[in-house]
């Protein structure tokens, strides 16, 4: 085969690859745009729920249910993209349908659309659907964090943590942010809570030196009574045609409850005694609240079959019209609270996460239930309540803990960040000090291999910090559409690498990233070792074809960034020219065309060394363009380089040295081979010649033309 023929083979392979790429682009689904309409909402919230008229000021649909001749709000339904369009990892915001109950709990969260690269075609959307389902039942009143996979199973607070998805850390955090930010926007407008009292903690002041008696507590209204007389109960059930069985005069109590908020020492210590109070304080978690209810009427709303530790179904604590989850603490009454009436009791725990504010008024309600009819008895319930309020002076209010959640990934990945930072710091002196390790013909290749292994295994596969054109697409979208750069903060290792790459870009050019820190580049370099045992000889691409092919990556880059600037989803599809997601992010676990493409590039690499990097890589193209800012012509040259000596040019596996001896920096991968040569008196031809002549010459950097 002639050289030209070989060149054609290479270009044919490339053409096939580009055709495959085009097929992928055409097959990629276009992004769903626009919002859900009434019909779509009715599909999501079918009868007996009623989709109300869309809100006049916010893109929110009230979902109602009918209750005794009037409607009640079941949930507020909205799309996150309308309220909190937080760009995802691909630069496009995900769209989630969220249904928020009036008490701030999530009734439903569904994925309407997303462009998260890791889920599209990669993991598939199923893990994402399962991820958002975790929100159902949680409350938007508390900050929710994305934990590690199986965080809940390993002890993270189930009310404030959702399990993350490995390989999709950044995407899941963006989705979490979208859900919370959109929900808080609705909560602020509709539910009277929002960022301001999110995570608000109100705790009883520890000691005030106040020691009132039980009678004084009652007089202050700090110990209250809920009394339902026979007469009141009869009247309540009269319209239902039910008689309240039980004897006694109309003014005699049927249900009688004495209740109090226990956390305030003046109340808790007086009612329980110092020891019991101390024990209770120890048992309550930080931020938890305890409410004591003693039942001393003939009818006990706790019920005879009340299960210790359960949530009493006939007692409710409500605040601001919202029921607060209050669970029995299973504390035995025996001998406790001698100053209180005899009778069954419960101490209810209100979890700190419930958003309960003991410094604001609240209500205790007791339900009386009667049955009507005999064959199919119907349960009729009537509710009776009493209000409770304590002076604000008894409490310390603590605003929500500051620190937006983008700091979480930085904290959680501190170790990874530290390792990467050390590795980067270690690389600098090696590359800068050319007469050091670089000049060592035996040890330097070992260092390089070790470093590339670190790049592939740790930076790439473990820390998931493969830089990608997707980030640039996100930047363009941020500049043109979303004006929001925060998505960068959710992926700390990548951001750290970007900072390092931009800095070295200015000093040395694209080579520092492409030759040292690109995990796919490292993978290609290792893969290339297979060429020899497989008896594959690298083909030399003829210079003219080589120059033409080098331009392909710039065309691709322009296409991707142009599409992104125009807001076209084509940018996502074109970005698939990068095999990084397939090979690094998803470990080749992906739909077969993607895997075939990535493997194809690795095979191509056996024939045309790093063909992808040199001809196709849009990220490399962008770095090459930015690399024109490079300050140093740092590769030493001699007058003899190019004329007559061609050693470095021939040895350069990237074709980055011209026959004239000039270095083509935008194509240089900083492998340091030519630097090693020039500093090696046994290799550098001019030096070998000079030594033979008994002279010593010093290599000089030659200014670039």
């Amino acid at each position: 085969m002639t050289r030209v023929g070989r060149g054609r083979t290479a270009s044919n392979a490339l053409r096939s690859a580009l055709l495959a790429l085009l097929a992928l682009v055409l097959a990629a689904p276009l992004a769903a745009a626009g919002s859900l309409d009434r019909a779509a909402m009715e599909r999501h919230f079918p009868a007996p729920l009623v989709v109300g008229e869309r809100d006049a000021t916010l893109p929110v649909w009230p979902i109602l249910k009918q209750e005794a001749g009037s409607y009640e709000v079941f949930a507020y339904a909205f799309e996150s993209i309308d309220l909190a369009p937080i760009p995802g990892f691909g630069g496009t915001p995900p769209d989630l349908l969220i249904a928020l109950a009036p008490d701030g709990t999530f009734r439903d969260v569904k994925v309407i659309a997303h462009h998260e690269p890791v889920f599209l075609e990669g993991l598939g959307s199923e893990p994402l659907f399962a991820f958002v389902e975790q929100y159902v039942g949680l409350s938007a009143r508390q900050p929710i964090r994305v934990g590690r996979p199986n965080a809940r199973g390993s002890g993270a607070a189930p009310q404030t943590t959702v399990d993350g998805i490995s390989m999709a850390t950044a995407s899941t955090r963006v989705i979490n942010e979208s859900i919370l930010a959109a929900s808080l926007a609705v909560a602020r407008a509709k539910l009277g809570f929002g960022a301001a009292n999110l995570g608000l903690r109100v705790e009883a002041r520890p000691e005030t030196g106040d020691a009132p008696t039980v009678t004084e507590l009652a007089a202050r209204g700090w110990l209250r009574r809920l009394t339902v007389t026979h007469g009141r109960a009869e009247a309540a059930f009269r319209d239902a045609g039910v008689t309240v069985a039980g004897d006694g005069p109309a003014e005699a109590p049927l249900v009688e409850l004495t209740f109090a908020y226990l956390n305030v020492p003046a109340i808790g210590r007086t009612l329980l005694g110092p020891e019991r109070f101390a024990a209770l304080t120890r048992e309550l978690g930080p931020g938890d609240h305890a409410v004591l209810v003693v039942s001393h009427g003939p009818e006990n709303p706790l019920g005879d079959e009340f299960v210790l530790g359960s949530i009493p179904d006939r007692l409710t604590v409500t605040q601001g019209g919202l029921a607060v989850n209050a669970r029995d603490m299973a504390i035995e009454r025996r001998g406790a609270a001698p100053g209180l009436p005899d009778g069954p009791w419960t101490i209810l725990r209100i979890a700190g996460a419930a958003g309960f504010d003991p410094s604001a008024p609240w209500t205790l309600s007791a339900k009386i239930v009667r049955e009507r009819g005999q064959i199919f008895p119907e349960r009729i319930a009537r509710e009776f309540s009493a209000d409770y309020a304590l002076p604000a002076a008894l409490f310390i209010r603590e605003a929500a803990e500051a620190g937006p959640s983008w700091t979480d990934p930085w904290r959680a990945r501190a170790i990874e960040l530290g390792v990467i930072a050390l590795a980067l710091a270690g690389l600098l002196p090696v590359l800068a000090h050319q007469r050091g390790l670089v000049a060592d013909r035996r040890r330097f290749p070992l260092f390089r291999l070790a470093y590339l292994a670190f790049t592939l295994l740790f930076v790439g596969w473990y820390a998931q910090a493969q830089l990608s054109i997707v980030t640039l697409v996100g930047l363009v979208r941020a500049a043109t559409v979303t004006h929001d750069l925060t998505f960068l903060l959710y992926d700390p290792p990548s951001l750290l690498l970007w900072a390092f790459v931009i800095a070295t870009l200015v000093v040395w050019g694209r080579g520092t990233f492409c030759g040292w820190l690109c995990p796919f580049g490292a993978l290609q370099e290792f893969f290339a070792f297979l060429a020899k045992p497989l008896r594959i000889r690298p083909r030399t691409v003829p210079p003219r074809l080589d120059r033409a092919l080098r331009q392909v990556k710039y065309v691709l880059l322009a296409g991707i960034l142009g599409a992104a600037a125009l807001g076209s989803p084509l940018a996502d599809s074109l970005s698939e020219a990068e095999p990084f997601k397939t090979a690094i992010t998803l470990y080749f676990v992906r739909a077969w065309p993607f895997v075939a493409y990535a493997l194809g590039l690795l095979v191509l690499n056996l024939f045309v060394y790093k063909g992808f990097c040199r001809y196709l890589c849009p990220l490399g193209a962008s770095l090459a363009v930015l690399g024109r800012l490079r300050l140093l012509d740092w590769i030493p040259r001699r007058a003899e380089c190019g004329s007559p000596c061609q050693l470095c040019k021939v040895r350069c596996r990237y074709g980055a040295i011209r026959p004239s001896g000039r270095v083509d920096y935008p194509e240089c991968f900083q492998c340091m081979d030519c630097v090693t040569i020039i500093h090696d008196p046994g290799q550098c031809v001019p030096e070998v010649v000079a030594r033979r002549r008994g002279k010593r010459i010093v290599p000089q950097p030659v200014a670039a033309e």
């Binding site: 009623v50 008229e53 000021t57 009230p62 001749g69 009277g192 009537r382």
Partner: protein
């Protein structure tokens, strides 16, 4: 300004559909069957307005006309909200309160304010749309679990007075420190506007719940509309039933927003004291317009049964029911 709150969970007038509803038989399916037998379709659309749930029901032979009528009914609600809802910071009334003046006020606002000032005149200020400065004083105190500071309350009362409002067709001007609320009228007026929108579409049978109520014609099953009046202390219980119900009805009571556990302090203020009127738990007025029913019910809360009864008697065709505090 009233704080945004989630729609009230307790309703004290309960719309009821026909005899079937009263007897507790059937359910919506039974209504539909009866209605279908008479060749009538019915449509209900629900939503949120004025900080509560609203529902509009219309019946007639032409479903398309019903849908169009209900859409226009909701458009009318939004127009009224844009004019005078204090739940919306951008409403004309909110802007008037903020700036102290408003040019080219919307018709809904001038209608309600004109009626409010007239009623204030007739009741010698027992009904007064300028009680708004009292709200923040009570709401902030309630948030602290406390009663208002008497000095602050006195200072707020000094800013109340319906003569401090100059209403002209082109411009409304408030004296410094004055702020208006039309929450006592807006739901009733909205019922009027919705009913007019439905009539404009040729709809003759409708039941409107805007927080206050209006009805015309009959239920599609042929039975008259009915309205239940709940007992304010026992929301599930029915204190009375108005049947047949047509025209408009409004209820004022101490239950909507209470500032104290015993409901002695609530969202209706006696303009002279700055405190809530004692004695009544709720008042229900039926009248020929929602605006009138709504205004009279609030005035009667302040005036009490005797004076209130005399006030309502000035309008023929109106009736009033008082429920005392338990």
């Amino acid at each position: 300004m009233p704080m945004p709150q989630h729609p009230s969970r307790r309703r004290f007038l309960l719309g009821m559909a026909g005899l079937a509803g009263l007897a507790g038989l059937g359910g919506p399916a039974a209504f539909r069957a009866l209605a279908a037998a008479r060749g009538l379709a019915s449509r209900t659309r629900a939503g949120l307005a004025f900080g509560t749930t609203v529902a509009l029901t219309a019946a007639g032979p032409d479903p398309a006309a019903l849908d169009a009528g209900l859409s226009e009914g909701f458009a009318a609600l939004r127009t009224v909200e844009a004019a005078a809802s204090l739940f919306r910071a951008d409403s004309a009334l909110s802007r008037l309160n903020r700036d102290g003046w408003l040019d080219a006020p919307p018709a809904d606002l001038t209608t309600m304010l004109g009626f409010a000032l007239d009623l204030a005149d007739r009741t010698d200020g027992a009904f007064d749309p300028t009680v708004q400065p009292l709200w923040p004083v009570w709401a902030e105190a309630a948030a602290r679990g406390d009663k208002p500071d008497p000095n602050r309350l006195r200072e707020a009362v000094a800013r109340v007075g319906w003569r401090r409002v100059a209403l002209g067709p082109e411009r409304i001007v408030l004296e410094s420190g004055t702020a208006l609320t039309l929450n006592a009228l807006i739901q009733g007026h909205a019922a009027d506007r919705v009913m007019a929108a439905l009539r404009g579409r040729g709809i003759t049978d409708a039941f409107v719940d805007t927080g206050e109520f209006g009805a015309m014609g009959a239920h599609p099953d042929g039975t008259p509309w009915q309205l239940g009046i709940a007992d304010p202390r026992r929301p599930e219980a029915m204190a009375a039933v108005i049947a047949p119900f047509s025209g408009f009805a409004a209820t004022s009571g101490d239950y909507g927003t209470s500032f104290s556990p015993d409901r002695a302090d609530h969202h209706i203020f006696d303009p002279t004291t700055g405190r809530s009127p004692r004695g009544l738990a709720s008042v229900t007025v039926t009248a020929g317009t929602g605006l009138l029913a709504d205004g009279l019910s609030t005035a009667c809360m302040v005036l009490g049964p005797e004076k209130g009864g005399r006030l309502v008697a000035q309008w023929p065709g109106c009736s009033v029911r008082f429920l005392g505090k338990a």
